[in-house]
């Protein structure tokens, strides 16, 4: 049985010489929900961009048993649903429908299948009534849900989210957390929202300065006050 995400000794430096990842190894089981925390600039977003080959560093990255390299990229991008931090960048089509249909269209599905996928994805995020809406006029919470629908329509095996709750008001945040709980997928979520981590993720990974500094059960790590403080984190009250 393969791991959903297999990262071995991954290192990456940006063209300007700045080292963003150093010897990162991470293994995630199917249907495991893992939180990725750490201060700004720790390398969380850089790591996420490696999961579908947008960035490629030294080391090995396998997703659902496939190595992330040129001939596999199409399949991998369909299997890894990557939701970026700003829904303004994720929703680039004129209407909600077009955006949710984008992934399935590029998977080469028939028009009927695309329609079906769009309906299912919007249903899953409870936004079926929004298909014909124009993205610009939605609230941030609505945009975040649609952003998740845009990758769900590709029926991915792994969902990777960058800062899903950032900027949301309490109500929108609560309904997003409920939504994430419902989704039966392998999940890697980068976040600063420690309450969310506590509530939803049994396992958490702490990154700092391009390295994984801790990886374990959330209940254990959350009580290691020194560890949290050393990496700019705080246990939620």
């Amino acid at each position: 049985m393969h791991h959903s995400i297999n990262i071995d000794r991954l290192s990456f430096a940006y063209p300007d010489g700045h080292t963003a990842l150093q010897d990162v190894s991470l293994h995630i089981q199917p249907c495991e929900k893992v939180a990725l925390v750490g201060p700004n600039g720790a390398g969380k977003s850089t790591l996420i961009l490696h999961l579908n080959g947008i960035l490629r560093g030294k080391g090995e990255v396998c997703v659902c048993g496939l190595e992330v390299k040129e001939p596999n990229l199409g399949k991998i991008r369909a299997m890894v649903g990557l939701v970026f931090q700003s829904p303004e960048d994720q929703l680039f089509s004129p209407t909600v429908y077009d955006d949710v249909a984008f992934g399935p269209l590029y998977q080469g599905l028939s028009p009927q299948e695309v329609q079906q996928r769009v309906d299912q994805a919007l249903e899953a995020v409870h936004m079926s009534a929004y298909a014909d809406r124009v993205s610009h006029h939605l609230s941030l919470g609505e945009k975040k849900r649609i952003a998740i629908a845009t990758v769900l329509s590709m029926q991915p095996e792994v969902l990777v989210l960058d800062e899903p709750t950032a900027g949301l008001d309490p109500g929108a945040r609560r309904s997003l957390i409920n939504l994430l709980r419902e989704l039966p997928l392998t999940m890697l979520v980068s976040t600063h929202d420690m309450l969310l981590v506590n509530e939803l993720f049994p396992r958490m990974v702490i990154m700092d300065e391009g390295r994984i500094v801790a990886d374990g059960e959330t209940t254990v790590l959350m009580n290691d006050k020194e560890l949290l403080e050393a990496h700019g984190l705080e246990k939620p009250v």
Binding site: P94, F102, V151
Partner: protein, 266 residues
């Protein structure tokens, strides 16, 4: 903070709104082309054209005042056409003496100016009704249907999506400038700086806008390829035109053809 006023579309329930966007786009373009082809001074045909566009404005329920206000956009150009009343030779209507100059207003000149103004007014009303009764995403579909290059339509679509986002950013920059444009209130201290300085500040704002746009285009690119984008523009197939829509298309084009023939006979 959202810019809504940029979007001219008005969601109203009207027969014009319900017309298929493809039919609407083709008929609008054909109507504007017909208006352009009809010769200057063909008054009876102009009356027909005006009657048609007025009925369309009324049918669209956009409000005559709304359309009238927006159509004022073409007014400055009437000024550019104004001198033709003097420069076209013909039967003199009136003449003025300004110093040694004699300006003669000719009948043909006035006819030309009136024709240009009317043609322009009819055309701009058509464009206003098209834009205000059709959602832009539907207009994009219509553009693909009349075989405007898919790549260009895709760029239009993306541009439209980010028009509002970038306009919001521009507005934030303007507000930030305003918030810091203090005035000392002392009469001997001139506020606002020199013209070159103001232009320089505005230029800096434009520069930062472009820089943000470039960075944003990178992030959008990442989001697009994450969902399998490969440079090829793919879209869902368009639904076929219904029989009533075909009827509207053929009827509309037929009417315009009759008007063209009329303008030749008259």
């Amino acid at each position: 903070m959202h810019i809504h006023f940029l979007d001219p579309f008005k969601a109203i329930d009207s027969p014009i709104h319900e017309l298929d966007p493809r039919v609407k786009l083709v008929l609008s373009l054909a109507f504007i082309l017909t208006t352009a082809i009809i010769p200057h001074g063909a008054w009876p045909v102009y009356i027909f054209l005006l009657a048609i566009i007025f009925s369309i404005v009324i049918l669209s329920r956009l409000g005559f005042i709304f359309v009238l206000k927006r159509s004022a956009l073409a007014l400055p150009f009437v000024l550019a056409a104004f001198p033709v009343i003097f420069t076209i030779q013909g039967d003199p209507l009136a003449s003025f003496n300004i110093g040694n100059w004699q300006l003669i207003i000719s009948l043909q000149g006035v006819e030309r100016l009136l024709s240009i103004t009317l043609k322009s007014w009819i055309s701009i009303q058509t464009a206003i009704v098209l834009a205000s009764s059709t959602r832009f995403p539907d207009l994009l579909m219509a553009m693909r249907a009349i075989h405007i290059p898919r790549l260009l339509v895709a760029i239009f679509g993306l541009m439209w999506r980010y028009l509002f986002v970038m306009a919001d950013e521009a507005l934030r920059l303007l507000r930030a400038r305003l918030a810091r444009s203090g005035d000392t209130g002392l009469s001997d201290k001139k506020s606002g700086g020199s013209l070159a300085w103001r232009a320089h500040v505005t230029g800096g704002m434009a520069g930062s806008l472009f820089l943000r746009a470039l960075e944003r285009s990178d992030r959008i690119y990442n989001a697009m390829i994450s969902r399998g984008y490969d440079g090829d523009v793919r879209t869902l197939p368009q639904p076929p035109l219904g029989s009533s829509q075909w009827a509207a298309l053929i009827g509309g084009l037929g009417l315009l053809f009759i008007l063209l023939v009329l303008s030749i006979i008259l």
